[in-house]
């Protein structure tokens, strides 16, 4: 009997990784060495037992939880970007208003009038009406598609989507009520624009991520 097989030799043999020549030499050794034969047989049986473990059974239905976490993660990123944009927009708006004040005030002084100049035009209810007329048809259309598609996702996910859609719609509604009381409030008007944009963005996202029959 020649020397016993090396560890790597016997493992590679069991895995079928040896060349034809190497494999033949190992086979010849195994014919005459009971210890190595027993070792290789045990490893081969173990290899088969391990392969049979491949079927670990199915996982439970994990998708609703994953879909919800994915949805929340995407929405949070989107809201974060929206907040960043909104803050940049607000800075730009206030810079614009400041510049306008300087120009209008300067023009009033140049005209030499003693009357108090109207520094900026207040948006009034006409501006709010324009916003509503612009955004509401888009939102209603997206809502129809989103609600239709939301029924196609898992019930838990649909429920949370519905909650978010309702919360957005509620926020818009509250601002509109406040603006109706004080139609000239610039900040409320600006807030309404942002709320409409947030709702459109969220609805567009819902339509995009839910399995739609429209696509």
């Amino acid at each position: 009997v020649s020397r016993h097989l090396e560890l790597e030799e016997v493992h590679r043999f069991v895995d079928g990784e040896l060349s034809a020549d190497q494999g033949r030499r190992v086979e010849e050794h195994l014919q005459s060495c009971g210890d190595c034969r027993a070792w290789a047989d045990q490893l081969d049986a173990l290899r088969q037992q391990l392969a049979e473990l491949r079927d670990a059974g199915a996982a439970g239905d994990l998708w609703p939880g994953i879909a919800w976490r994915v949805a929340t993660s995407a929405r949070d990123e989107q809201l974060s970007r929206a907040r960043h944009r909104s803050s940049a927009n607000r800075r730009a708006i206030w810079s614009g208003i400041a510049a306008l004040v300087v120009v209008v005030a300067g023009a009033a002084l140049m005209l030499g009038g003693n009357r108090q100049p109207a520094l900026v035009a207040r948006p009034g209810s006409a501006a709010a009406d324009t916003l509503v007329a612009t955004f509401v048809p888009i939102i209603e259309n997206l809502q129809r598609i989103a609600h239709r598609q939301a029924v196609l996702v898992a019930p838990g996910v649909a429920e949370r989507l519905h909650e978010d859609l309702t919360a957005n719609a509620h926020a818009v509604s509250e601002i509109r009520v406040a603006l109706a009381r004080d139609p000239g409030d610039v900040e409320l008007s600006d807030e309404l624009t942002r709320a409409f944009r947030r709702e459109v963005a969220f609805l567009e996202w819902v339509v995009r991520v839910t399995p739609g029959d429209a696509r």
């Binding site: 790597e8 173990l46 391990l50 473990l53 199915a58 996982a59 949805a71 995407a74 991520v209």
Partner: protein, 177 residues
């Protein structure tokens, strides 16, 4: 009508934010990811949590997947990192709050119809060192090559072989006692 979409297209669509494409990839791979997590942590409930965590990470990290490796290989790497991170967190938690009792036994042998040999094998796998167990699961159960395991675990092929041989020898000795 049934549309046949290949995996690369699904990956591209999921990268672009299409959750339906992510769902198709999930259905294709979920049981394999679950199997890996189950063998690594030995507890079905925990394995399901880690499987969920893996898919959320896949969604977040897909933009960094450049298609240099197969999606399956990349997915296993994400899953393995999720498991490894969870194990680190668990170890830190145990260090902060020392338990006055031994950790719960593995819940792997949940099916009573399994023969004793299979139960013994699963218990022996659960006792292997982390890296050796990972290599054994990926090679001998999931069927990956050493080159793929090297990419998944970030180790050399030779190291993967060494861990495999060490793991199998240990199992062989334990099961023959």
């Amino acid at each position: 009508m049934h549309f046949v979409v290949n995996e690369a297209e699904l990956v591209q669509q999921a990268r672009a934010g299409d959750v339906t494409a992510l769902n198709a990839l999930y259905r294709e791979y979920v049981n394999r990811v679950f199997g890996l997590c189950l063998r690594m942590v030995g507890d079905r409930e925990r394995a399901e949590e880690l499987t969920q965590d893996t898919w959320v990470q896949v969604w977040r990290q897909l933009t960094s997947f450049r298609g240099e490796a197969r999606f399956g290989t990349w997915l296993y790497r994400v899953a393995f990192n999720v498991v490894r991170q969870a194990e680190r967190t668990e170890r830190r938690r145990r260090q902060r709050i020392p338990l006055d009792r031994s950790p719960p036994a593995t819940s792997l042998p949940a099916r009573t119809e399994r023969p004793d040999e299979r139960v013994a094998l699963e218990r022996a796998i659960a006792r292997l060192p982390d890296q050796a167990r990972a290599v054994l699961v990926l090679h001998s159960i999931e069927g990956h090559t050493h080159a793929e395991i090297g990419r998944i675990l970030g180790i050399a092929e030779g190291t993967s072989r060494a861990h495999l041989y060490q793991a199998r020898e240990r199992l062989r000795r334990e099961l023959s006692e």
